[in-house]
Protein backbone atom coordinates (compact mmCIF):
# COMPACT_ATOMS: atom_id res chain seq x y z
CA UNK A 1 0.00 0.00 0.00
CA UNK A 2 1.29 3.44 -0.89
CA UNK A 3 1.93 5.62 2.20
CA UNK A 4 -0.60 8.39 2.76
CA UNK A 5 -1.43 11.25 5.07
CA UNK A 6 -4.39 10.61 7.31
CA UNK A 7 -6.82 13.45 8.03
CA UNK A 8 -9.83 13.39 10.30
CA UNK A 9 -11.83 16.59 9.81
CA UNK A 10 -14.38 17.50 12.47
CA UNK A 11 -16.69 19.40 10.14
CA UNK A 12 -17.92 19.20 6.57
CA UNK A 13 -16.28 22.54 5.81
CA UNK A 14 -12.91 21.29 7.01
CA UNK A 15 -13.27 18.14 4.94
CA UNK A 16 -14.05 20.06 1.76
CA UNK A 17 -11.04 22.32 2.37
CA UNK A 18 -8.71 19.37 2.92
CA UNK A 19 -9.57 17.75 -0.39
CA UNK A 20 -7.12 18.06 -3.27
CA UNK A 21 -6.44 15.97 -6.39
CA UNK A 22 -4.90 12.72 -5.10
CA UNK A 23 -6.96 12.72 -1.90
CA UNK A 24 -9.68 10.13 -1.21
CA UNK A 25 -12.72 10.20 1.07
CA UNK A 26 -12.84 7.37 3.60
CA UNK A 27 -16.21 6.17 4.91
CA UNK A 28 -16.49 2.53 5.98
CA UNK A 29 -13.36 1.59 4.06
CA UNK A 30 -14.71 -1.70 2.73
CA UNK A 31 -14.03 -0.68 -0.85
CA UNK A 32 -11.26 1.93 -0.57
CA UNK A 33 -8.95 0.07 1.85
CA UNK A 34 -9.32 -3.08 -0.23
CA UNK A 35 -8.38 -1.20 -3.42
CA UNK A 36 -5.45 0.47 -1.65
CA UNK A 37 -4.13 -2.93 -0.56
CA UNK A 38 -4.04 -4.22 -4.13
CA UNK A 39 -2.54 -1.00 -5.50
CA UNK A 40 -5.56 0.06 -7.53
CA UNK A 41 -6.32 3.08 -5.34
CA UNK A 42 -3.21 5.09 -4.51
CA UNK A 43 -4.31 8.23 -2.66
CA UNK A 44 -1.65 10.48 -1.12
CA UNK A 45 -4.16 11.63 1.49
CA UNK A 46 -7.04 9.75 3.08
CA UNK A 47 -9.73 11.99 4.53
CA UNK A 48 -11.75 10.11 7.14
CA UNK A 49 -15.19 11.72 7.02
CA UNK A 50 -16.75 9.56 9.74
CA UNK A 51 -16.25 12.21 12.44
CA UNK A 52 -18.34 14.78 10.60
CA UNK A 53 -21.57 15.27 12.57
CA UNK A 54 -24.99 15.06 10.99
CA UNK A 55 -24.29 12.53 8.24
CA UNK A 56 -25.58 9.42 10.04
CA UNK A 57 -29.28 10.14 10.42
CA UNK A 58 -32.27 8.32 8.94
CA UNK A 59 -35.25 10.70 8.77
CA UNK A 60 -38.67 9.50 7.70
CA UNK A 61 -41.04 12.32 6.90
CA UNK A 62 -44.82 12.21 7.32
CA UNK A 63 -45.33 12.71 3.59
CA UNK A 64 -43.72 9.32 2.89
CA UNK A 65 -40.31 10.59 1.87
CA UNK A 66 -37.02 9.74 3.53
CA UNK A 67 -33.62 11.37 3.94
CA UNK A 68 -30.63 9.18 4.72
CA UNK A 69 -27.22 10.50 5.73
CA UNK A 70 -24.25 9.41 3.63
CA UNK A 71 -22.56 7.72 6.59
CA UNK A 72 -25.51 5.49 7.52
CA UNK A 73 -24.28 1.90 7.57
CA UNK A 74 -25.88 -0.55 5.19
CA UNK A 75 -27.05 -2.73 8.09
CA UNK A 76 -28.54 0.20 10.02
CA UNK A 77 -30.59 1.27 7.04
CA UNK A 78 -31.80 -2.24 6.22
CA UNK A 79 -32.70 -2.88 9.87
CA UNK A 80 -34.52 0.42 10.40
CA UNK A 81 -38.09 -0.85 10.82
CA UNK A 82 -39.80 2.24 9.46
CA UNK A 83 -37.51 2.43 6.48
CA UNK A 84 -37.81 -1.24 5.57
CA UNK A 85 -41.62 -1.03 5.77
CA UNK A 86 -41.71 1.98 3.46
CA UNK A 87 -39.01 0.86 1.00
CA UNK A 88 -38.85 -2.94 1.28
CA UNK A 89 -36.93 -3.55 -1.92
CA UNK A 90 -34.21 -1.14 -0.83
CA UNK A 91 -33.84 -3.04 2.45
CA UNK A 92 -33.78 -6.35 0.62
CA UNK A 93 -31.18 -5.14 -1.86
CA UNK A 94 -28.99 -3.98 1.03
CA UNK A 95 -29.29 -7.33 2.79
CA UNK A 96 -28.54 -9.24 -0.40
CA UNK A 97 -25.18 -7.48 -0.69
CA UNK A 98 -21.83 -8.42 0.85
CA UNK A 99 -21.69 -10.07 4.30
CA UNK A 100 -22.87 -9.19 7.78
CA UNK A 101 -19.42 -7.87 8.68
CA UNK A 102 -19.17 -5.66 5.60
CA UNK A 103 -22.72 -4.34 5.92
CA UNK A 104 -21.83 -3.20 9.45
CA UNK A 105 -19.00 -1.08 8.05
CA UNK A 106 -20.06 -0.04 4.55
CA UNK A 107 -21.79 3.32 4.20
CA UNK A 108 -24.53 4.57 1.94
CA UNK A 109 -22.30 7.13 0.21
CA UNK A 110 -19.57 4.57 -0.36
CA UNK A 111 -22.03 2.12 -1.85
CA UNK A 112 -23.10 4.69 -4.42
CA UNK A 113 -19.46 5.42 -5.32
CA UNK A 114 -18.08 1.89 -5.29
CA UNK A 115 -15.57 0.80 -7.89
CA UNK A 116 -16.24 -1.92 -10.45
CA UNK A 117 -15.39 -5.55 -9.83
CA UNK A 118 -13.98 -5.99 -13.32
CA UNK A 119 -11.05 -8.41 -12.83
CA UNK A 120 -8.79 -6.30 -15.05
CA UNK A 121 -9.64 -3.11 -13.19
CA UNK A 122 -8.62 -4.95 -10.02
CA UNK A 123 -5.29 -6.09 -11.49
CA UNK A 124 -2.84 -3.15 -11.65
CA UNK A 125 -0.56 -4.85 -14.20
CA UNK A 126 -3.33 -5.13 -16.78
CA UNK A 127 -4.52 -2.50 -19.25
CA UNK A 128 -7.52 -0.57 -17.94
CA UNK A 129 -8.82 2.76 -19.20
CA UNK A 130 -10.82 3.25 -16.04
CA UNK A 131 -7.76 2.96 -13.81
CA UNK A 132 -5.15 4.29 -16.23
CA UNK A 133 -6.71 6.38 -19.00
CA UNK A 134 -5.44 5.56 -22.48
CA UNK A 135 -3.87 2.23 -21.48
CA UNK A 136 -6.50 0.10 -23.21
CA UNK A 137 -8.94 -2.48 -21.93
CA UNK A 138 -7.92 -6.07 -21.27
CA UNK A 139 -11.55 -7.07 -20.75
CA UNK A 140 -11.83 -6.95 -24.53
CA UNK A 141 -9.88 -10.22 -24.60
CA UNK A 142 -13.11 -11.87 -23.53
CA UNK A 143 -15.41 -9.66 -25.57
CA UNK A 144 -16.17 -7.26 -22.74
CA UNK A 145 -18.34 -7.67 -19.67
CA UNK A 146 -21.41 -5.43 -19.75
CA UNK A 147 -24.35 -6.49 -21.91
CA UNK A 148 -25.46 -2.96 -22.56
CA UNK A 149 -24.12 0.57 -22.21
CA UNK A 150 -20.45 -0.38 -22.70
CA UNK A 151 -17.97 1.46 -24.94
CA UNK A 152 -14.86 0.32 -26.77
CA UNK A 153 -12.85 1.70 -23.89
CA UNK A 154 -14.65 0.10 -20.94
CA UNK A 155 -17.29 -2.52 -20.27
CA UNK A 156 -17.00 -2.82 -16.48
CA UNK A 157 -20.27 -3.56 -14.71
CA UNK A 158 -21.63 -1.49 -11.84
CA UNK A 159 -21.56 -3.83 -8.84
CA UNK A 160 -24.07 -2.23 -6.46
CA UNK A 161 -27.32 -3.88 -5.39
CA UNK A 162 -28.54 -0.84 -3.46
CA UNK A 163 -28.31 1.44 -6.49
CA UNK A 164 -30.79 -0.66 -8.47
CA UNK A 165 -33.91 0.05 -6.35
CA UNK A 166 -32.69 3.60 -5.68
CA UNK A 167 -32.72 4.23 -9.43
CA UNK A 168 -36.15 2.65 -9.75
CA UNK A 169 -37.53 4.89 -6.99
CA UNK A 170 -36.15 8.18 -8.38
CA UNK A 171 -33.84 8.84 -5.45
CA UNK A 172 -32.04 12.18 -5.22
CA UNK A 173 -28.43 12.54 -4.10
CA UNK A 174 -27.42 15.56 -2.01
CA UNK A 175 -23.86 16.65 -2.69
CA UNK A 176 -21.57 19.18 -1.00
CA UNK A 177 -18.58 20.70 -2.72
CA UNK A 178 -16.31 23.70 -2.87
CA UNK A 179 -19.04 25.60 -4.71
CA UNK A 180 -21.81 24.75 -2.25
CA UNK A 181 -24.58 22.19 -2.11
CA UNK A 182 -26.49 20.72 -5.02
CA UNK A 183 -28.89 17.87 -5.79
CA UNK A 184 -28.27 15.14 -8.32
CA UNK A 185 -31.14 12.99 -9.62
CA UNK A 186 -30.09 9.37 -9.20
CA UNK A 187 -30.46 8.62 -12.90
CA UNK A 188 -27.71 11.15 -13.66
CA UNK A 189 -25.30 10.20 -10.85
CA UNK A 190 -23.54 7.40 -12.72
CA UNK A 191 -22.40 7.87 -16.28
CA UNK A 192 -21.68 5.51 -19.13
CA UNK A 193 -17.98 5.01 -19.94
CA UNK A 194 -18.06 6.39 -23.48
CA UNK A 195 -14.76 8.07 -24.30
CA UNK A 196 -13.96 8.70 -20.63
CA UNK A 197 -14.18 5.50 -18.59
CA UNK A 198 -12.07 7.12 -15.86
CA UNK A 199 -15.01 9.36 -14.97
CA UNK A 200 -17.64 7.08 -13.51
CA UNK A 201 -19.97 9.64 -11.97
CA UNK A 202 -21.12 13.18 -12.59
CA UNK A 203 -19.70 14.39 -9.28
CA UNK A 204 -17.01 17.02 -9.67
CA UNK A 205 -13.60 16.44 -8.07
CA UNK A 206 -13.80 17.35 -4.39
CA UNK A 207 -17.55 16.90 -4.14
CA UNK A 208 -18.88 14.70 -1.39
CA UNK A 209 -22.21 12.90 -1.07
CA UNK A 210 -23.86 14.02 2.18
CA UNK A 211 -27.30 12.43 1.93
CA UNK A 212 -29.79 10.60 -0.19
CA UNK A 213 -33.49 11.33 -0.44
CA UNK A 214 -36.32 9.08 -1.50
CA UNK A 215 -39.28 11.08 -2.74
CA UNK A 216 -42.71 10.85 -1.14
CA UNK A 217 -44.11 9.07 -4.20
CA UNK A 218 -41.71 6.15 -3.76
CA UNK A 219 -43.52 4.79 -0.70
CA UNK A 220 -46.69 4.00 -2.68
CA UNK A 221 -44.91 0.91 -4.03
CA UNK A 222 -44.35 -0.54 -0.55
CA UNK A 223 -47.04 -3.19 -0.97
CA UNK A 224 -45.83 -4.46 -4.34
CA UNK A 225 -42.07 -4.35 -4.53
CA UNK A 226 -39.33 -6.92 -4.98
CA UNK A 227 -35.57 -7.11 -5.39
CA UNK A 228 -34.32 -10.29 -7.01
CA UNK A 229 -30.66 -11.16 -7.43
CA UNK A 230 -29.21 -14.11 -9.31
CA UNK A 231 -25.67 -15.03 -8.31
CA UNK A 232 -23.24 -17.91 -8.45
CA UNK A 233 -23.85 -18.81 -4.81
CA UNK A 234 -26.77 -18.02 -2.56
CA UNK A 235 -25.03 -15.46 -0.36
CA UNK A 236 -22.03 -13.09 -0.34
CA UNK A 237 -21.66 -12.80 -4.12
CA UNK A 238 -22.13 -10.06 -6.66
CA UNK A 239 -25.09 -10.21 -9.00
CA UNK A 240 -24.96 -12.01 -12.32
CA UNK A 241 -28.23 -10.24 -12.93
CA UNK A 242 -30.63 -8.47 -10.62
CA UNK A 243 -33.87 -6.56 -10.85
CA UNK A 244 -35.88 -4.19 -8.71
CA UNK A 245 -39.56 -4.21 -9.61
CA UNK A 246 -42.33 -2.12 -8.07
CA UNK A 247 -45.96 -1.86 -9.03
CA UNK A 248 -49.00 0.10 -8.01
CA UNK A 249 -52.20 -1.88 -8.61
CA UNK A 250 -55.75 -0.53 -8.70
CA UNK A 251 -58.83 -2.54 -9.59
CA UNK A 252 -56.69 -5.31 -10.99
CA UNK A 253 -54.66 -3.08 -13.25
CA UNK A 254 -51.17 -1.63 -13.07
CA UNK A 255 -51.33 2.13 -12.51
CA UNK A 256 -47.63 2.77 -11.90
CA UNK A 257 -44.56 0.63 -12.55
CA UNK A 258 -40.84 0.77 -11.90
CA UNK A 259 -38.23 -1.61 -13.21
CA UNK A 260 -34.45 -1.33 -12.87
CA UNK A 261 -31.76 -3.91 -13.55
CA UNK A 262 -28.36 -4.59 -12.04
CA UNK A 263 -25.34 -6.68 -13.00
CA UNK A 264 -25.63 -5.98 -16.71
CA UNK A 265 -24.38 -2.46 -17.43
CA UNK A 266 -21.77 0.13 -16.37
CA UNK A 267 -24.49 1.75 -14.31
CA UNK A 268 -27.79 0.60 -12.84
CA UNK A 269 -30.11 0.23 -15.80
CA UNK A 270 -33.64 1.55 -16.24
CA UNK A 271 -35.74 1.82 -19.38
CA UNK A 272 -38.84 4.03 -18.92
CA UNK A 273 -40.40 2.63 -22.12
CA UNK A 274 -40.37 -0.84 -20.58
CA UNK A 275 -42.25 0.51 -17.57
CA UNK A 276 -44.74 2.27 -19.83
CA UNK A 277 -45.69 -1.08 -21.43
CA UNK A 278 -47.09 -2.17 -18.07
CA UNK A 279 -49.40 0.77 -17.42
CA UNK A 280 -53.09 0.01 -17.69
CA UNK A 281 -52.48 -3.74 -18.02
CA UNK A 282 -53.55 -6.42 -15.58
CA UNK A 283 -50.48 -8.12 -14.10
CA UNK A 284 -49.63 -11.28 -16.00
CA UNK A 285 -46.88 -13.40 -17.46
CA UNK A 286 -47.19 -12.08 -20.99
CA UNK A 287 -46.99 -8.38 -20.24
CA UNK A 288 -44.18 -8.95 -17.76
CA UNK A 289 -42.22 -10.86 -20.39
CA UNK A 290 -42.76 -8.06 -22.89
CA UNK A 291 -41.60 -5.36 -20.48
CA UNK A 292 -38.59 -7.39 -19.38
CA UNK A 293 -37.52 -8.05 -22.97
CA UNK A 294 -37.90 -4.36 -23.77
CA UNK A 295 -35.63 -3.43 -20.87
CA UNK A 296 -32.85 -5.49 -22.49
CA UNK A 297 -33.35 -4.10 -25.96
CA UNK A 298 -30.05 -3.10 -27.47
CA UNK A 299 -28.13 -5.68 -25.45
CA UNK A 300 -24.95 -7.07 -27.01
CA UNK A 301 -26.06 -9.91 -29.33
CA UNK A 302 -22.76 -11.79 -28.93
CA UNK A 303 -23.37 -15.50 -28.54
CA UNK A 304 -21.20 -15.73 -25.44
CA UNK A 305 -23.35 -13.17 -23.66
CA UNK A 306 -26.70 -14.53 -24.74
CA UNK A 307 -27.24 -16.63 -21.62
CA UNK A 308 -26.86 -13.55 -19.45
CA UNK A 309 -29.21 -11.54 -21.64
CA UNK A 310 -31.83 -14.27 -21.27
CA UNK A 311 -31.11 -14.54 -17.55
CA UNK A 312 -31.53 -10.77 -17.14
CA UNK A 313 -34.88 -10.87 -18.96
CA UNK A 314 -36.11 -13.74 -16.78
CA UNK A 315 -34.81 -12.04 -13.63
CA UNK A 316 -36.78 -8.90 -14.49
CA UNK A 317 -39.83 -10.99 -15.37
CA UNK A 318 -39.73 -12.89 -12.11
CA UNK A 319 -39.15 -9.72 -10.08
CA UNK A 320 -42.29 -8.25 -11.66
CA UNK A 321 -44.21 -11.44 -10.79
CA UNK A 322 -43.01 -11.23 -7.20
CA UNK A 323 -43.97 -7.57 -6.98
CA UNK A 324 -47.44 -8.38 -8.30
CA UNK A 325 -47.88 -11.07 -5.64
CA UNK A 326 -47.21 -8.49 -2.97
CA UNK A 327 -44.35 -7.68 -0.64
CA UNK A 328 -44.01 -10.41 2.01
CA UNK A 329 -44.74 -9.48 5.63
CA UNK A 330 -41.20 -10.25 6.66
CA UNK A 331 -38.02 -10.32 4.67
CA UNK A 332 -37.22 -13.80 3.36
CA UNK A 333 -34.51 -15.88 5.03
CA UNK A 334 -32.33 -15.40 1.95
CA UNK A 335 -32.69 -11.76 0.87
CA UNK A 336 -32.97 -11.29 -2.86
CA UNK A 337 -32.57 -15.00 -3.51
CA UNK A 338 -34.53 -17.05 -6.02
CA UNK A 339 -34.78 -19.64 -3.23
CA UNK A 340 -37.60 -18.07 -1.31
CA UNK A 341 -40.36 -19.32 0.92
CA UNK A 342 -43.16 -21.23 -0.87
CA UNK A 343 -45.54 -18.29 -0.53
CA UNK A 344 -43.30 -16.35 -2.83
CA UNK A 345 -43.23 -19.02 -5.53
CA UNK A 346 -44.75 -17.69 -8.70
CA UNK A 347 -47.60 -19.50 -10.40
CA UNK A 348 -48.73 -17.19 -13.16
CA UNK A 349 -49.77 -19.33 -16.09
Amino acid sequence: MKPFDFKQPATLEQALTLWHPGAAWLGGGTNLVDLMKIGVARPDTVIDITRIPGLSEIDLADDGSARIGALVKNSDLADHPGFAARFPMVAEALLSGASGQLRNAATLGGNLMQAPRCPWFQLPESACNRRNPGSGCDARQVGGLALIGASEGCSAIHPSDLCVPLLALDAVVEVAGPDGHREVPFATLHRLPGEHPETATTLAPGELIVALRLPAGAARFAGHAAYLKVRERTSFAFALTSAAAALELRDGRITAARLALGGIAPKPWRVPEAEALLIGQPPGAEVFARAAAHALEGADPAARKNWRRLLAIRTAQKALHMAALGTPETLPALPGSVFRSPAQEVSHA
Binding site: D5, D48, S99, G100
Partner: protein, 169 residues
Protein backbone atom coordinates in the same frame (compact mmCIF):
# COMPACT_ATOMS: atom_id res chain seq x y z
CA UNK B 1 3.40 10.61 10.44
CA UNK B 2 2.80 9.98 14.09
CA UNK B 3 -0.62 8.75 15.12
CA UNK B 4 -2.16 7.96 18.45
CA UNK B 5 -5.49 6.54 19.45
CA UNK B 6 -7.14 5.64 22.69
CA UNK B 7 -9.41 2.64 22.56
CA UNK B 8 -10.99 0.17 24.91
CA UNK B 9 -9.58 -3.21 24.01
CA UNK B 10 -11.17 -6.23 25.65
CA UNK B 11 -12.41 -4.01 28.45
CA UNK B 12 -9.11 -2.20 29.09
CA UNK B 13 -8.58 1.38 27.96
CA UNK B 14 -5.29 1.72 26.13
CA UNK B 15 -3.40 4.56 24.50
CA UNK B 16 -1.67 3.29 21.40
CA UNK B 17 0.86 5.15 19.27
CA UNK B 18 1.99 4.09 15.83
CA UNK B 19 3.88 5.66 12.98
CA UNK B 20 2.10 4.58 9.86
CA UNK B 21 -1.49 5.32 8.87
CA UNK B 22 -1.51 2.11 6.82
CA UNK B 23 -1.75 -0.04 9.95
CA UNK B 24 -5.00 -1.98 10.01
CA UNK B 25 -6.76 -3.07 13.17
CA UNK B 26 -5.80 -6.64 12.27
CA UNK B 27 -2.09 -5.90 12.08
CA UNK B 28 -2.29 -3.73 15.18
CA UNK B 29 -3.78 -6.61 17.17
CA UNK B 30 -1.49 -9.34 15.88
CA UNK B 31 1.84 -7.60 15.43
CA UNK B 32 1.84 -4.80 17.96
CA UNK B 33 -0.53 -5.75 20.78
CA UNK B 34 0.34 -9.43 21.07
CA UNK B 35 -3.21 -10.60 20.39
CA UNK B 36 -2.79 -13.18 17.64
CA UNK B 37 -6.16 -14.86 18.24
CA UNK B 38 -7.64 -12.74 15.45
CA UNK B 39 -6.50 -14.46 12.26
CA UNK B 40 -5.35 -13.15 8.91
CA UNK B 41 -6.84 -15.06 6.01
CA UNK B 42 -7.47 -13.19 2.77
CA UNK B 43 -6.72 -9.74 4.24
CA UNK B 44 -9.38 -8.35 1.88
CA UNK B 45 -12.66 -8.73 3.75
CA UNK B 46 -13.71 -11.86 1.96
CA UNK B 47 -12.97 -14.71 4.39
CA UNK B 48 -14.05 -13.39 7.80
CA UNK B 49 -11.08 -14.89 9.70
CA UNK B 50 -10.27 -11.46 11.16
CA UNK B 51 -13.78 -10.76 12.47
CA UNK B 52 -13.83 -8.74 15.71
CA UNK B 53 -16.45 -6.63 17.45
CA UNK B 54 -16.06 -2.87 17.09
CA UNK B 55 -18.49 -1.01 19.33
CA UNK B 56 -20.35 -4.28 19.77
CA UNK B 57 -20.75 -5.03 16.07
CA UNK B 58 -18.92 -7.61 14.03
CA UNK B 59 -16.62 -6.26 11.37
CA UNK B 60 -13.52 -7.27 9.43
CA UNK B 61 -10.38 -5.99 11.18
CA UNK B 62 -8.39 -6.26 7.94
CA UNK B 63 -10.35 -3.45 6.26
CA UNK B 64 -10.41 -1.21 9.33
CA UNK B 65 -7.63 1.36 9.51
CA UNK B 66 -6.43 1.59 13.11
CA UNK B 67 -6.25 5.37 12.86
CA UNK B 68 -10.05 5.52 12.52
CA UNK B 69 -10.64 3.88 15.90
CA UNK B 70 -10.23 6.76 18.36
CA UNK B 71 -12.63 6.10 21.25
CA UNK B 72 -13.78 2.74 19.91
CA UNK B 73 -14.50 -0.37 21.93
CA UNK B 74 -12.90 -3.45 20.41
CA UNK B 75 -13.50 -7.03 21.49
CA UNK B 76 -11.38 -9.88 20.17
CA UNK B 77 -11.60 -13.61 20.78
CA UNK B 78 -9.16 -13.18 23.68
CA UNK B 79 -11.56 -10.87 25.49
CA UNK B 80 -14.82 -12.64 24.81
CA UNK B 81 -15.01 -14.39 28.18
CA UNK B 82 -13.21 -13.94 31.51
CA UNK B 83 -9.95 -15.88 31.87
CA UNK B 84 -10.59 -19.57 32.48
CA UNK B 85 -14.18 -19.50 31.28
CA UNK B 86 -15.84 -19.98 27.93
CA UNK B 87 -18.39 -17.79 26.22
CA UNK B 88 -21.59 -19.72 25.35
CA UNK B 89 -20.66 -19.52 21.66
CA UNK B 90 -17.20 -20.98 22.37
CA UNK B 91 -18.80 -23.80 24.38
CA UNK B 92 -21.30 -24.44 21.61
CA UNK B 93 -18.53 -24.73 19.02
CA UNK B 94 -16.86 -27.40 21.19
CA UNK B 95 -20.14 -29.22 21.85
CA UNK B 96 -21.00 -29.36 18.16
CA UNK B 97 -17.53 -30.11 16.79
CA UNK B 98 -17.84 -26.91 14.76
CA UNK B 99 -14.29 -26.85 13.43
CA UNK B 100 -11.56 -29.00 12.04
CA UNK B 101 -8.24 -27.15 11.60
CA UNK B 102 -9.45 -24.24 13.73
CA UNK B 103 -7.92 -21.38 11.76
CA UNK B 104 -11.24 -19.73 10.90
CA UNK B 105 -12.73 -20.48 14.33
CA UNK B 106 -11.98 -17.20 16.16
CA UNK B 107 -13.56 -15.29 13.28
CA UNK B 108 -16.50 -17.70 13.14
CA UNK B 109 -17.10 -17.31 16.88
CA UNK B 110 -16.86 -13.51 16.82
CA UNK B 111 -19.17 -13.41 13.82
CA UNK B 112 -21.66 -15.70 15.56
CA UNK B 113 -21.60 -13.47 18.66
CA UNK B 114 -22.29 -10.50 16.40
CA UNK B 115 -25.06 -12.30 14.53
CA UNK B 116 -26.82 -13.37 17.73
CA UNK B 117 -26.65 -9.78 19.00
CA UNK B 118 -28.16 -8.53 15.74
CA UNK B 119 -31.10 -10.85 16.38
CA UNK B 120 -31.61 -11.46 12.69
CA UNK B 121 -31.30 -15.23 12.51
CA UNK B 122 -32.82 -16.73 15.64
CA UNK B 123 -32.49 -20.52 15.44
CA UNK B 124 -33.58 -20.77 11.79
CA UNK B 125 -30.74 -22.73 10.11
CA UNK B 126 -31.34 -21.00 6.78
CA UNK B 127 -31.00 -17.58 8.35
CA UNK B 128 -27.95 -18.68 10.34
CA UNK B 129 -26.21 -19.88 7.19
CA UNK B 130 -27.08 -16.63 5.43
CA UNK B 131 -25.94 -14.59 8.44
CA UNK B 132 -22.64 -16.48 8.67
CA UNK B 133 -21.84 -16.30 4.95
CA UNK B 134 -19.07 -13.77 5.56
CA UNK B 135 -17.00 -16.48 7.23
CA UNK B 136 -15.37 -19.12 5.11
CA UNK B 137 -14.39 -22.50 6.56
CA UNK B 138 -12.15 -24.35 4.15
CA UNK B 139 -12.52 -27.54 6.19
CA UNK B 140 -16.26 -27.14 5.54
CA UNK B 141 -17.41 -27.52 9.14
CA UNK B 142 -20.52 -25.57 8.22
CA UNK B 143 -22.99 -28.13 9.56
CA UNK B 144 -21.40 -28.04 13.01
CA UNK B 145 -21.14 -24.26 12.90
CA UNK B 146 -24.84 -23.95 12.15
CA UNK B 147 -25.67 -26.30 15.04
CA UNK B 148 -23.36 -24.36 17.34
CA UNK B 149 -24.99 -21.03 16.51
CA UNK B 150 -28.41 -22.60 17.11
CA UNK B 151 -27.33 -23.96 20.49
CA UNK B 152 -25.66 -20.71 21.53
CA UNK B 153 -28.70 -18.69 20.47
CA UNK B 154 -30.93 -20.90 22.58
CA UNK B 155 -28.68 -20.64 25.62
CA UNK B 156 -28.21 -16.88 25.28
CA UNK B 157 -31.60 -15.70 24.07
CA UNK B 158 -33.89 -18.44 25.36
CA UNK B 159 -32.05 -19.95 28.34
CA UNK B 160 -35.14 -22.00 29.37
CA UNK B 161 -34.97 -24.14 26.25
CA UNK B 162 -31.18 -24.36 26.16
CA UNK B 163 -31.21 -28.07 26.86
CA UNK B 164 -33.33 -28.78 23.80
CA UNK B 165 -30.76 -29.18 21.06
CA UNK B 166 -31.03 -31.13 17.88
CA UNK B 167 -33.04 -28.99 15.45
CA UNK B 168 -32.40 -30.21 11.96
CA UNK B 169 -29.89 -27.89 10.32
Amino acid sequence: MSLSITLTLNGVTRAIAFEDARVTLLDLLRDRLDLPGTKKGCDRGQCGACTVLVNGRRTTACLTLAATLEGAEVTTIEGLAPEGTLHPVQQAFIDNDAFQCGYCTPGQIMSAVGLIAEGRAGTDPERIREGMSGNICRCAAYHGITLAVQQATRSMVHPDTAAKTGDAA
